[in-house]
Subunit: 245 residues, 2 copies
Amino acid sequence: MRIARILTPTGPQHAVADGDSWAFIEDVFATPLVRTGEAVPIEGTALLAPVQPRDILGLGHNLTNNDHPLPMQAWHKSVHTLANPGDAIVARRGVGTVNIEGELAVVIGTRAEALTLENAFDAVLGFTIVNDVTNVDQVPIDEKSFQSKGGENYTPLGPWIETELADPENVSTTVEINGEVRAESGSFNLPSSVAATLVYVTQWLTLYPGDVVMTGAPNTFVAVNPGDRVDITLAGIGTLTNTVV
Amino acid sequence: MRIARILTPTGPQHAVADGDSWAFIEDVFATPLVRTGEAVPIEGTALLAPVQPRDILGLGHNLTNNDHPLPMQAWHKSVHTLANPGDAIVARRGVGTVNIEGELAVVIGTRAEALTLENAFDAVLGFTIVNDVTNVDQVPIDEKSFQSKGGENYTPLGPWIETELADPENVSTTVEINGEVRAESGSFNLPSSVAATLVYVTQWLTLYPGDVVMTGAPNTFVAVNPGDRVDITLAGIGTLTNTVV
């Protein structure tokens, strides 16, 4: 099932895909989901980032194909950097190269404390796509992932949450810049599995519904420039598209 | 002026100190502040963390007296760790020593982008006290300040916001454990000034009303154990008290 978030006259509201319509629901974290009875056509409806996390976690040292030079390390990205599908990424000038990073994002559904490899996905509402935009030339002088990760619309998220992804550990990822394929990889190339990442993070910090864990960029990073269009496609989820200005 | 946050039957509400009363106000970020006309006695009223930040920033390498071994580096602390005055800090067991850190906290009042040394305090609503509780033995293997900073009630904040602090760069700090003075220092000992910290942070990340910047612990960290009572007193603000369990 796909769950999106849509701006309505009374504020943002979640909706589930139902044929040609987005059918609005009450509480996205409720079980079962309750429909309000109202709907809008999928065609032509703009989508917001599908959730408003209180914490966004990134994973350090989870970047290269199956290579784990250092133990996994999480860090927080500012919630102020969250952006919607279609929003313009404001690439910082004068701080070196700006990379986009196409990643599988986990959306937490229930309070998640000390998860295990066996139950890690029980706490998950679903999966979406995140673009972890990075001032990559800051990384060598930014071991705390602050300078490299701050910028306007530096965390596009969406376009929707897929609640029935077949296998989160085997999600193919394609990054296109201006329609040209520039990176092909997938979560199967992450040094730490998605489940192991959730175990590590919740060992140290209890997560809550709506929190987002960015699982790492398995060679899915590409330098971009103003004017570029970025399409990140994850098999079984969809495509997150943003432009760079 | 002191601004507190108080739990009422209709939810948390801000209030200003007025003689023996907390006088409730509408929007804490409005200018001028508008009183609702209702009030509660200061005596006996429990206070919440005086603000609910969307981002909590900490400052790395701003720990020792006037010593700056490495450039300043900010990091994010989870908003899930926020705690009220009086809340019990749940010291993690089995991960080494747990330190409390008594710090001056800046509460942002207006959108703050690329502040300068001249206008840094214009964006500030006021100042309060923060206890940046830390799993200190994790620090050497946690360059991203994640494992060392995650825990239940690891960020007590309060007891109130002081909007008229005479000189933020000269705030004496005293840490007492079980009534015994264990650290005496102040913001005058911070390697980077409070203004310089705000300039650095907002150069990379735009802050918004309610965000909190923890300015660093100038030798105001003390190891604690379950049962300890922690009093952090900042001259011109007040005392933040929590127990460790």
